[in-house]
């Protein structure tokens, strides 16, 4: 049952991706990307990763769609046709895809409980989380406590990204207004003189 739901969702995602590649209208691309994120969130729910599904639905489909639409407002909304057929990018993508598929051959079958990653620290977290932190949701205790350094880093990354975007978008316009203000002042002064 789970496998067939996943198959349907992944097929739909592949169709959406083909749509994104073929679409020249950027508005259509943004909307399709939102649909892709919702499908991805559904896949993650089927995989029982509800936390990640929530993030994907709210960030991928919600906020980033709004950001992309806002960015679209400042650019042209029609993608130009490439001048030459994109053969080199196609080769690179096919090569990387082949390497990734080759890499999955070495992984243990999906969902096996005795895969290597489930035998390192996960059993300790599952056994001791409630005793040590009084937090029943192990995901929360791993993120905020056992792996607190990583989450501090993530928060700092978000902080840095926000500051960077604000500097890029606001810095230029603020400088421009300051310059015009100064120009106006000078003009006024000259008039007075």
């Amino acid at each position: 049952m789970e496998a067939s739901i996943n198959m349907v969702l992944l097929t739909l995602m592949a169709i959406v991706v083909i749509g994104i590649v073929r679409q020249r209208n950027m508005f259509g691309v943004v909307v399709l990307a939102g649909i892709y994120s919702f499908l991805m969130a559904s896949v993650l729910i089927v995989l029982d990763a509800v936390d990640v599904a929530m993030t994907e639905a709210s960030v991928g489909a919600g906020v980033s769609t709004v950001f992309l639409l806002a960015a679209l407002h400042h650019t042209k909304s029609l993608e130009q046709r490439p001048k030459t057929p994109p053969l080199l990018p196609l080769l690179v993508v096919l090569g990387v895809g082949a390497v990734l598929v080759w890499g999955t051959i070495g992984l243990s079958p999906f969902g096996t409980p005795d895969a290597i990653i489930h035998k390192h620290v996960a059993p300790k977290y599952l056994a001791d989380s409630i005793k040590e932190t009084m937090v029943p949701n192990v995901v929360t205790s791993v993120l905020a406590d056992y792996r607190g350094y990583d989450t501090l880093g993530e928060t700092t990354v978000i902080f840095t990204a926000g500051i960077g975007v604000m500097l890029l978008l606001r810095g230029a316009s603020r400088r421009r207004t300051k310059k015009t203000e100064r120009g106006d002042g000078k003009a006024g002064g000259e008039q007075a003189a």
Binding site: V50, D51, M54, T55, S58, V59, G62, V63, V66, F67, A70, A71, H73, H74, K131, E132, T133, M134, V135, P136, N137, V139, T140, S141, L143, A144, D145, G148, Y149, T151, L152, E154, T155, T156, I158, F159, A161, G162, I163, V165, M166, L169, R170, S173
Partner: protein, 138 residues
């Protein structure tokens, strides 16, 4: 800003539930799925939806830009401050064991404070980026 009546009334009905859901995701994150990051994005989504329908000026009355921009470093400071508090109590950085009378409670409080920091930084960053994008178009 003049938008469709149905849209305005519908959004007004949805907004409080969005905020409630964000707070639920934040404070119920210990028991169910969710946490600071998801709650932050949902809370920011509420402000952004409000701005989309009622305009930027109305949204800035709800979430003033100066406050939003100060909240971005504040969340990181709360997170790192919780880590430093652990250091001051004689434990390691980000070790919450001695924040309360016994280690499990200390960890519970530490996780709560840290998640609050994540919520503040994530929500304010999203709203600040949105403000920056919209203002540039003017």
């Amino acid at each position: 800003m003049k938008t469709d009546l149905v849209l305005r009334v519908g959004v007004k009905l949805i907004l409080p539930f969005m905020l409630l859901f964000a707070l639920y995701v934040q404070f119920h994150g210990e028991l169910g799925p969710g946490g600071g990051f998801q709650a932050g994005v949902i809370a920011a989504g509420m402000i952004i939806l409000y701005a989309l329908v009622f305009g930027l000026t109305a949204a800035k009355r709800v979430a003033p830009q100066a406050i939003v921009e100060r909240m971005i470093p504040l969340g990181v400071l709360i997170y790192a401050g919780t880590g430093l508090a652990g250091l001051l109590t004689g434990a390691n950085f980000l070790d919450y064991s001695r924040l309360a009378h016994d280690p499990p409670h200390g960890h519970e409080y530490g996780i709560f404070a840290v998640e609050l920091g994540v919520l503040i930084t994530v929500s304010s960053t999203m709203v600040a980026i949105f403000y920056a994008f919209v203002e540039r178009g003017r």
